[in-house]
């Protein structure tokens, strides 16, 4: 199916779908409609339970799967080889990914193989004939840059899924999966995992309520108040980057552009200024409640609720009120 708009995903996260799948399909679907191309969804490795049904809802024309024992855990060398062969066979018009940690390796390496354009942090894609105008976030979100991609070849784009609202269409029949054959016999992974990461407990990315602390907490011992409030609200504790850099908390607490990209129902930001790079990881929250002693702090521009005050005076009271 040449000239298609291809969405490539792998893995399974909450809701039985790969992370960001609905957001990327929403962007890709409207792009496909605007240029009259087919929307194709390609999954790598074992297919998540909800894919076939979701493909139907989003008007996917074909559901492709590349599965191979070597693709378990999506090692980059194997994934890039599989995708390069796929693109050679299928000649897509563009390949779109959800931007996650692994995509940062796979998308640009694929572009190098295809000798084609690559854009990360994408928030919008428009097309006109052979030309794509791809909008991406820059300076952590302080600006957006529109890049023009012209000419032949298959551009590769990694979509910043939390910047997009999924369409969530209702009707649609499940799609049958078509297996696409590629030859992975000669590729072997060069990066050897000697100690895998131990996923411990729930992830910030999945949390419904997050309470995060920033430099305004003043001292490492005050972070306990953040943990206590998070617990009282039945949520999880996060942090801005300076707390990670200072070694106050482990790096898996870092919310932001280069940390966790979260989408909770409620995000409570305490002593956090609201720098764009932090907001990149929490701006998609349904609602933000901010506590900051500076009434001019940027965080209040994003917040639905705000208290101008001292975090150390307010936190114990919030913990008490939350427990009552």
């Amino acid at each position: 199916m040449s000239n298609a708009i291809v969405v490539c995903t792998w893995g399974e996260e909450r809701g039985g779908l790969p992370g960001g799948a609905e957001e990327v399909l929403s962007l890709a679907g409207s792009l496909a409609r605007s240029v009259g191309s087919d929307l194709v969804w390609l999954t790598l490795g074992a297919q998540a339970a909800g894919v076939a049904e979701t493909a139907g809802r989003y008007g996917v024309a074909a559901l492709h799967q590349i599965d191979d024992a070597k693709l378990a855990d999506i090692p980059a060398d194997v994934a890039v080889e599989a995708l390069a062969q796929y693109c050679e066979q299928q000649s897509p018009r563009i390949v779109l990914f959800n931007q996650m940690a692994a995509t940062r390796t796979i998308a640009p390496r694929l572009a190098a193989r295809l000798d084609s354009a690559v854009v990360m942090g994408v928030t919008e894609v428009a097309a006109d004939g052979d030309t794509f105008d791809i909008t991406a976030s820059a300076y952590g979100g302080d600006t957006r840059v529109v890049y023009r991609v012209a000419g032949a070849g298959t551009p590769v784009a990694a979509v910043w899924a939390t910047a997009i609202t999924a369409e969530c269409p209702e009707a649609g029949a499940s799609l049958a999966v078509e297996s696409v054959a590629v030859d992975l016999s000669s590729v072997s992974e060069r990066v050897d995992i000697v100690e895998p990461a131990k996923a411990e407990g729930p992830k910030l990315e999945d949390a419904e309520i997050i309470v995060s602390g920033g430099r305004g907490l003043g001292a490492v011992e005050n972070y306990k108040l953040i943990r206590d409030l998070a617990e009282a609200l039945d949520g999880m504790a996060g942090a801005s980057r300076p707390l990670v850099d200072e070694g106050w908390v482990d790096s898996n607490h870092q919310v932001g552009l280069t940390g966790k990209i979260t989408k909770p129902n409620l995000y409570v930001a305490v002593g956090i200024s609201g720098a764009s790079q932090h907001m990149a990881g929490c701006g998609a929250a349904n609602a933000i409640a901010a506590i900051n002693k500076d009434s001019e702090a940027a965080i209040f521009q994003y917040a639905r609720f705000g208290i101008v005050g001292d975090a150390l005076e307010l936190l114990p009271e919030l913990i008490r009120a939350a427990r009552s």
Binding site: A136, F305, A321
Partner: protein, 267 residues
Amino acid sequence: MRIVICVKEVLDPDAVNNYAIAGRLEIGDDGMSLTQTAIPRLMNGFDEQALEAALRIKDTGVDCSLTVVSIGEDPSKILKHCAALGADSVVAIKTDAGALDGHGVATLLLAQIEAGGGADLILCGRQASDDDQGVVPALIAERLGMPLVTFARAVEASGSSLKVTRVVPDGDEVVEVVCPAVVTVSNELGEPRYPTAAAKIKARKVKPQVTSPADLGVADGDLAPRIQMIRQFVPTVQGNCEFIDGGSPAEQADKLIARLREESLLS
């Protein structure tokens, strides 16, 4: 071990943030560039940490040479800083970096690495803080046929292999890879060192080796960008905050929790 560190000069992201927060970040008449000439230029933070990773390898007694490469009209300020920190040689590829896309940057860096006799380890920051793209290390790795390890918090060299601790979504992962390889460094590596006063004075006299695309045998056509910026704009943020004011901290806390419950944001 030949280590090459690729560094980029960027506009100070904190200054850009401050302008943005104050609502004073503006785009010039060309529709593309930031007009605030007062924003200082400095070395991309993650690149400082990439150099720090190389210096830590050197600290462990590994026999290695550190070469820092940067592209730009005049990257000598940041290159002198790298020399003061302990880089053995610093190279400037003189050209208008703004006219290049990631492929063009990778083409020039590759040409310089080859001209300099190759590399066993290429260290880069995980992304640049201006365009946040982070594609150059991957483009270099793929074109040199080297493996790529991203988001390092620690890099250890032993013999011809590397042990890298990576920051991944599930925590820390330890990987091993045989050199030559490309590694990108993340902020979790920790604070980069400062040069000593004596080293700074000595570095003032350092003259970066200056080269150009033509010197490296790279034709203009090889640098033709696949993506071109046509516009930059400042997205608007809709401020709509309900401030809980008045009363003691206890009263404010009660009110906030009550409002969050009313809005079903808390159970």
